[in-house]
Amino acid sequence: MTITTARAGEPPPARRPIDDAPSRVDKVFRRVTTGGGITVLVLLVVIGFFLTLQSAPALRYAGFGFFSTVEFNTTADSPVFGVLGMLTGTITVALIAVFIAVPISVLAALFITDYAGTRLRGLLTGLVDLLAAIPSLLYGLWGFSFLAPQVEPVTAWLSRNFSWIPLFATKENATLTQSMFVAGLVVSLMVLPITTSIIREVFAQTPPGEKEAALALGGTRWGMVRSVVLPFGRGGIVGGAMLGLGRALGETIAVSLLLPQLPSIVTHVLESGGATISGFIAHNAGISGLGLNAMMAAGLVLFLFTLATNFSASIIISRSRSGAGVDA
């Protein structure tokens, strides 16, 4: 038999264009599905467009000041309004929520993937999904009527004894319900399931080979987790946190129940006060005139802000997933 290595030294042959003549059904199929896919893009653009349209008068009135003004007062004789106070409130609540939620999520995810038995694992995975399906309204309701009063003595105690730590400082005689801290706490409960399920998913993709290797080398379970699971899941943790942040930023009902919704820059998080964009909007559903436009502008800011957060989150997560394929 001839050995077909004759071309070994030659340049490789020319590539052939592969031309498949798709059937008519396939052409229609492609068009229809592409149409479906594009709806989402269109929808987002349309949302952005209409919000911009409605907020234009307010933005024109306030100019750049809209982003640098804390107060939101459309009823003064020269209205002064801006999104800064609400935005900082939104971010504060979201950050508090994420700071509380992420450690717990990581622990819970670890428990589900690496500590629980198979049966419990299945059960918990389902439970986390169920938790994620519980409306934020109910969390808000619970936080508002049950948790906040329970937390109040603790914050009071904290502010009484640790007011020298800036974080825990409060004004004299301040009201301690309706604080950013309590809102953040409740929102953290809401983002918990989401972050947990994302982080769990990433943890669950940890190559079992590496986990076994760590154990086979005489590592404890913690050693295994620390040297394999956590480094592998780092991207997932960050991504989950970002996504949780996105959720927390947009959370409406709970914060509208829990915060007084007065835009200001809150430095004393234990004390009543503050607003978030979404909560403020929910509060002022019937506003009209310039106020409505200004509120729409605030909504637009929230829209863009969460989009940015979610974009980065999904990119981080997809990065971390593609990283998972490296060793495959």
Binding site: M1, I3, T4, T5, A6, R7, A8, P12, P13, A14, R15, R16, I18, D19, D20, A21, P22, S23
Partner: protein
């Protein structure tokens, strides 16, 4: 189930005759003529690759493979892992182009016609060149019967007697006797070896001219392997079979021809040697072939 009465008479495989009103003259169900409407020409076809090359992205993984796979014979492709056997096989029925980064060079002639010629529809090629995969993959949402008929439904063919086709195909895949009482059980409920034979039956139902098999037994236990090998030997007389295998014994047992692929490090895979199976195994021309078939590597 009213077909149990009739089932009792279908012992064709054991040589017992049975009557059939419409197809009265057929001695065995599997021999009844079932007409497919709208299908491709029936019968084995010769497959020939000319100077086939393949890339994934910019990496050339297969270079200048010219191979003749004669009609009604079993050609085995052997070689160490990663030398491009699967890639070559997938080029033969235009599955290669499903990988987004893949491209290729050369020609593949099916009964003299280039399957990559302009205007040729991949769908049509695949209808004529069937494929069985390494891991049995029956459609889990379908019953055994529907699995066999899936090809018809998917390719939009019609058939004048579906039950007969099912029986015939399963018979040819050597599965009829094992499943005839539970044709409506889901395809996923079979054992691995049965599933693989179901996949073979599914491929046979659309009457391909060529059947490609990519390590069809590597996921199976020894008994199932035996059974599938037997099936291959039987259908080898009717359609052209190209099989990839890692198992030298298997290649020896089932194939008429053999092609040895090898890829040196950082080089594309090439056909080192091909010829009748006995020759490749007994007195290969190339020392690398000798080493390989004698288990010196891999």
């Amino acid at each position: 189930m009213s077909d149990t009465t009739e089932m009792s008479t279908v012992d064709a495989v054991d040589g017992i005759d049975y009557l059939d009103a419409e197809y009265a003259d057929g001695p065995a169900a599997s021999t009844r003529e079932v007409r497919l409407i709208g299908g491709p020409p029936v019968g084995a076809a010769t497959l020939e690759s000319r100077d086939v090359g393949a890339w994934f992205g910019d990496r050339l993984v297969l270079d200048a493979v010219s191979l003749l796979m004669p009609a009604r014979e079993v050609t085995a492709l052997i070689g160490p892992s990663g030398c491009g056997k699967s890639t070559f096989l997938r080029i033969l029925n235009r599955m290669h182009e499903l990988v987004p980064t893949a491209s290729l060079a050369g020609e593949v002639l099916l009964d003299g016609q280039d399957i990559y010629a302009d205007g040729t529809r991949a769908q049509q090629v695949r209808l004529r060149v069937g494929m069985v995969f390494q891991k049995p993959n029956p459609f889990p949402a379908m019953s055994i019967k529907d699995n066999v008929l899936a090809g018809l439904k998917l390719a939009g063919l019609k058939c004048d007697d579906k039950d007969a086709l099912v029986e015939q195909s399963l018979e040819r895949a050597g599965l009829w006797r094992e499943v005839r009482d539970r044709l409506n059980a889901p395809g996923g409920a079979l054992s691995g070896g049965q599933q693989q034979r179901l996949c073979i039956a599914r491929s046979l139902a659309v009457r391909p001219n060529v059947l490609l098999m990519d390590e069809p037994c590597s996921a199976l236990d020894p008994t199932s392997t035996r059974r599938v090998e037997q099936t291959i030997a039987e259908i080898g007389h009717e359609v052209t079979v190209v099989i990839v295998t890692h198992n030298m014994q298997q290649a020896q047992r089932v194939s008429d021809h053999c092609a040895f692929f090898l890829a040196a490090e950082n080089e594309p895979g090439r056909v080192i040697e091909h010829g009748p199976t006995e020759k490749i195994f007994a007195e290969p021309d190339d020392p690398r072939t000798y080493d390989y078939v004698n288990g010196r590597f891999g």
